[in-house]
């Protein structure tokens, strides 16, 4: 029982760390882009809000890093 729980937890954490770049793209890069643009007084294109634009960049970039294993 304990072993199964630990094993399931380990498996969950491995998956979590595998998708961490994607989460980082959404959780950190997207708001960082939005707040940096706000700091410099830049507008988002296509009438998007700053955070929507940030997510548009951060989420695919994080996904790319997850799949490719590198950020650039």
């Amino acid at each position: 029982m304990v072993y199964n729980t630990l094993s399931a937890m380990q498996s969950f954490l491995k998956k979590l760390f595998f998708v961490m770049p994607f989460l980082f793209g959404i959780g950190f890069i997207a708001p960082l882009i939005a707040q940096s643009m706000a700091e410099f007084g830049w507008e988002a294109p296509w009438g998007l809000s700053l955070i929507a634009f940030g997510l548009l960049i951060g989420a695919p970039w994080g996904l790319y890093a997850t799949v490719r294993g590198r950020w650039v």
């Binding site: 760390f17 950190f28 960082l32 940096s36 590198r70």
Partner: protein, 332 residues
């Protein structure tokens, strides 16, 4: 003659001791040339001399107090930057520069703790040793348990392609080494902390498992802080106080503490696994501070008990002995 050949004497060279030519010159144990062909007696004498000098520079708890004071002070300052910048009491840019210095310099103080230089086991100073180690590298998201185990592994297996955890830092030039410090941290790369995790899994001891657990917890904690701060409107503060200083600090220490003193990583012996090097600033104090004292890294590998701030002085006193052992000391 066979025995002499075994230790590297070339045919026709003067033998170590020639009973036929019993004069003062042939009584020498060996002509002390560039370190090759030393006999056991000479090695022993040189080692004794080396140890006598090194002993003078070994750390004492009293002189290491400054490391504790600096570490605790810098850690508290770094923590205070978060509320102070978030409340606009302090501008974020100077705090960013200070955080970068703390990130890179933190490894140096942690490094002393890895070698128990601040407080040996079983002494009343041990608590401070462990405290300094634990808090120094939080900014690098690099737990002390992992840092200590990997660093000691590096000492045991220095420059071994499989067993030296820092071997992945090797690069053909200084520029490529800087690039590699960043490439090694990519999510899918087998370098830096990713490589350390793999090494710890291979070691598999309780200590290694603890180091892996600590790493996971610190990484999850830091991600939680980044995400929470970012979505609360403080992404720039999180980036400039922690995320970016961590990357800059890691690149800096991997270049100066790993690549520069060990390049080209082809020596495995006690006197060959590190090199004495000169920075772009020659023999000036700038090079000494910029490299964080790593120009004299050979002293550290020979005697890890000599603290970082004394390796320079120990090196210059040890230099004649090192030269006799064949170390290329021409750079400094």
């Amino acid at each position: 003659m066979d025995r002499i050949d075994d230790i590297g004497m070339r045919t026709g060279e003067t033998a170590l001791y020639d009973p036929v030519r019993d004069d003062a010159e042939t009584r020498l144990a060996i002509p002390l040339r560039a370190g090759d062909g030393l006999d056991k007696h000479t090695r022993l004498q040189l080692r004794k001399e080396e140890q006598r000098i090194a002993k003078k520079y070994m750390s004492t708890p009293q002189q290491m107090r400054i490391y504790t004071v600096i570490t605790v002070g810098c850690f508290l300052a770094w923590l205070s930057f978060f509320p102070l910048t978030m409340l606009d009491i302090l501008p974020v840019w100077p705090c960013f520069i200070a955080s970068c210095v703390f990130a890179a310099g933190g490894y140096i103080t942690s490094h002393e703790a890895m070698h128990d230089n601040i407080g040996r086991r079983g002494t009343k100073y041990r608590f401070w040793n462990e405290l300094v180690g634990e808090i120094s590298t939080i900014i690098l998201i690099f737990p002390f348990s992992m840092a200590r185990m990997m660093h000691l592994h590096h000492h045991y297996h220095c420059n071994h392609p499989e067993n030296d955890p820092d071997y992945t830092d090797e690069a053909p030039s200084a520029f490529k080494a800087w690039i590699k410090t960043w490439l090694n941290r990519q999510p899918g790369a087998d370098g830096s902390i990713h490589h350390y995790k793999r090494v710890l899994e291979r070691i598999g001891t309780k200590g290694a498992q603890k180091a892996l657990r600590d790493t996971m917890m610190l990484q999850l904690f830091s991600m939680a802080v980044f995400f929470t701060m970012a979505w609360s409107g403080f992404a720039i503060e999180a980036a400039l106080l922690w995320w970016l200083p961590r990357h800059i600090g890691l690149s800096y220490i991997r270049f100066w503490l790993s690549w520069a003193p060990h390049h080209p990583r082809d020596g495995h012996g006690r006197y060959e696994n590190t090199r004495v090097f000169r920075t772009w600033f020659g023999k000036t104090w700038v090079g000494h501070w910029m490299s964080m004292g790593m120009q004299y890294h050979i002293v550290h590998h020979l005697y890890p008990g000599i603290p970082n701030h004394r390796t320079k002085y120990a090196y210059y006193e040890l230099k004649p002995v090192l030269e006799k052992r064949g170390v290329d000391c021409s750079a400094l």
